[in-house]
Structure formats: structure tokens, C-alpha cells
């Protein structure tokens, strides 16, 4: 931690910054759920003690600077191709622990084919899918996961399903396949759900260590900036709006 504070005698640490995170400041907006999820991934890497042999694949989107935030090796994939890049890394070096971290514009739009086929092949990789229902980095355009009637800069009257179709439920879609070992949907709008999401992320990495195959953790997140809401209200929006369309829970667990 960059802050130099003398901890008084008698105090023991309860929570400290994960070792797998670098000293870089996150480039996310205030209150962005990406920050929580990035931290949870770092905690999972610490928990399993796999920092030395972990390789991440950074997406295009708000998390594009992921390689700056982690103290582990990283590759930067072309937009949407993180699962394909991860497949290559994992097949060439099976001893490495490979994860991708992708948003909904990356994984569910331009990268749908790569994601579906990596899942269908049951590649032994871990995928963290941050579904915030919008293209955050480019200014808040409609994503495939944008809710019906939701206002974005490209759907100023609200998403019209007759013109643009319905939100894509990627996790349900992938759970239909025989390939994946673990598909779950979590959220991080309060402490209890943060803890549940953390357990899911650790399980997804654990599956890879055990060679079980493709594990995907979808996290329904809020983008306070593009929702034009203060962070605490954006969390309420997740509960009241997003979770109606994206119900939480395990969709596929292969023992």
C-alpha cells in the first residue's frame, strides 16, 4: 500500500490489499463494479497461491489496462478474442493457469463465436464475464445485453426490442452446451453478494487446477457513469432492474 501509516501495537490485519495487485491506480470510474471484480480475481489468485504461474488475457473495454493492475503475466487480445488467445496459451503451456476477463461488449458481441466455441470445446480456462449492460469505455452505447427499454446513447428512447432484439443471456446459452464444467451468475452490489461472487471465482480457478474444464463466472455489474446514477443508486438499479432479466445462481455445475 502506498500510504505510510504506522499501525499501533496490538492490531492485526483483517483485510489488506491483495498481493497480486500492482501499485497502479485503477482507471475505472468512481463506484464501478469492475474495480470490485478485479480485486476479487486478485484475491482468488492470492488465495490459491498461483500468482507465479497465472496468465491473464486482457480484453478491449473498460478493463483494457488490466495488465497494469495485476502482478502476473498478461496477454492483450484483440477485441472479443480473449477466449481464443487463452485457448492457445493453455494448450501450449498446460501447466499455466489462464484466465480471461471480459465485458459484455467483448464477450457477448464481437467475441460471441470465440466464447461459444471455447466453451463447447470445454477448454480448461477460467472466464470472468462482467455484464454491465452497456459499452462503458466508448461512451455508453447499447450492448447485446442492454435491457429492453433501457436508455443508452444509441437508444435514447430506450432499447426497442422490435428493432434491436432482446438481451442476450450468455450464461444460459452456454449452460446448454456439454462442454462447460461450471457456469454461474453472480453480482457484487452488496457485501453478501461480493462474498458469494468471490467463492464462485475461486471455484472457477479451482476447477482449472483440477482440470475440470471451461468455467465461466458472469457478474451482473453496474456502470454508474453510463446509468447517470450515483454509485449507491446504481447498486439499487442492479437489484431492481438488471436482476429481473439476469437471475443469479449456478446454471451448470459438473462434479
Amino acid at each position: 500500500m502506498s500510504v505510510n501509516v504506522q499501525i499501533p501495537a496490538g492490531y492485526v490485519p483483517v483485510y489488506t490489499r491483495p498481493r497480486s495487485l500492482s501499485e497502479a491506480r485503477f482507471t475505472y470510474c468512481p463506484g464501478c463494479h469492475h474495480g470490485i471484480i478485479t480485486r476479487l480475481v486478485a484475491e482468488a489468485i492470492d488465495e490459491l497461491g498461483i500468482q507465479e504461474r497465472t496468465v491473464g488475457v486482457a480484453p478491449v473495454g473498460c478493463a483494457v489496462f488490466l495488465y497494469e493492475f495485476f502482478r502476473c503475466d498478461f496477454a492483450q487480445a484483440a477485441h472479443g478474442r480473449a477466449c481464443a488467445v487463452a485457448t492457445g496459451i493453455k494448450r501450449a503451456n498446460p501447466e499455466l493457469i489462464v484466465f480471461t476477463y471480459q465485458g459484455d461488449g467483448d464477450l457477448a458481441a464481437i467475441g460471441t463465436a470465440e466464447t461459444v466455441h471455447a466453451a463447447n470445446r470445454g477448454e480448461n480456462i477460467t472466464v470472468i464475464f462482467v455484464n454491465n449492460q452497456v459499452y462503458g469505455m466508448t461512451g455508453g452505447e447499447m450492448a447485446p445485453t442492454t435491457l429492453p427499454g433501457m436508455r443508452t446513447v444509441t437508444t435514447p428512447e430506450g432499447r426497442d426490442v422490435r428493432a434491436t432484439g432482446y438481451p442476450l443471456r450468455m450464461s444460459e446459452m452456454l449452460a446448454q452446451l456439454d462442454g462447460p464444467a461450471y457456469i454461474t451468475r453472480q453480482a457484487v452490489f452488496d457485501v453478501r453478494h461480493v462474498q458469494m461472487a468471490q467463492k464462485a471465482i475461486i471455484k472457477a480457478f479451482q476447477n482449472q487446477l483440477e482440470g475440470k474444464g471451461f468455467s465461466l463466472v458472469e457478474i451482473v455489474a453496474a456502470c454508474p457513469t453510463n446509468l447517470h446514477l450515483p454509485p449507491a443508486e446504481a447498486n439499487r438499479w442492479v437489484v431492481e432492474q438488471a436482476l429481473k432479466y439476469f437471475p443469479l445462481g449456478d446454471l451448470k455445475v459438473r462434479d
Binding site: M1, V3, Y11, V14, Y15, Y28
Partner: protein, 77 residues
Amino acid sequence: MPKGLVIIDKERCKGCGLCVAACPFGVLAVTSELNRYGYNVAKATAPEKCTGCAMCAQMCPDAAIEVYRMAPAKEGV
């Protein structure tokens, strides 16, 4: 001495207030103090109420919070 101790890295804090909403004891508040990036930073304005539950740290999107707790006194001391 309070049971818990919360330390916020001022330069990482972006003043989103999620820690303030998560704290069950009202220890934290977003203050008018600015950091070098121009964000209003969160501070422990009522540190004596802190129990060291670390709920603030688990919500912080910038990993800016560290939490310490008074170690239980050893038996026979």
C-alpha cells in the same frame, strides 16, 4: 482504543461512497477533502465506532482500504 482500525489510501479513493453505504456502524463519510486527482475522499470520521468487520474494504472498488483489528488478549496475560 477502538476494536477496529480502518486505513484509507487517500490517493486511491475516488469518493464513490460504497464504503460509507456498506459500513454498519457509520464510521466512514465522504469528506470535502480533495486528493491530488480532485476526488472527495472518504475518511473514518467516527473511528471509535469501528469494529474491524472489513465490510468497507470488501466493497471498495479501488482496493484503497485496509482494515486492522485489535488482537484478542492472550490467556493468562
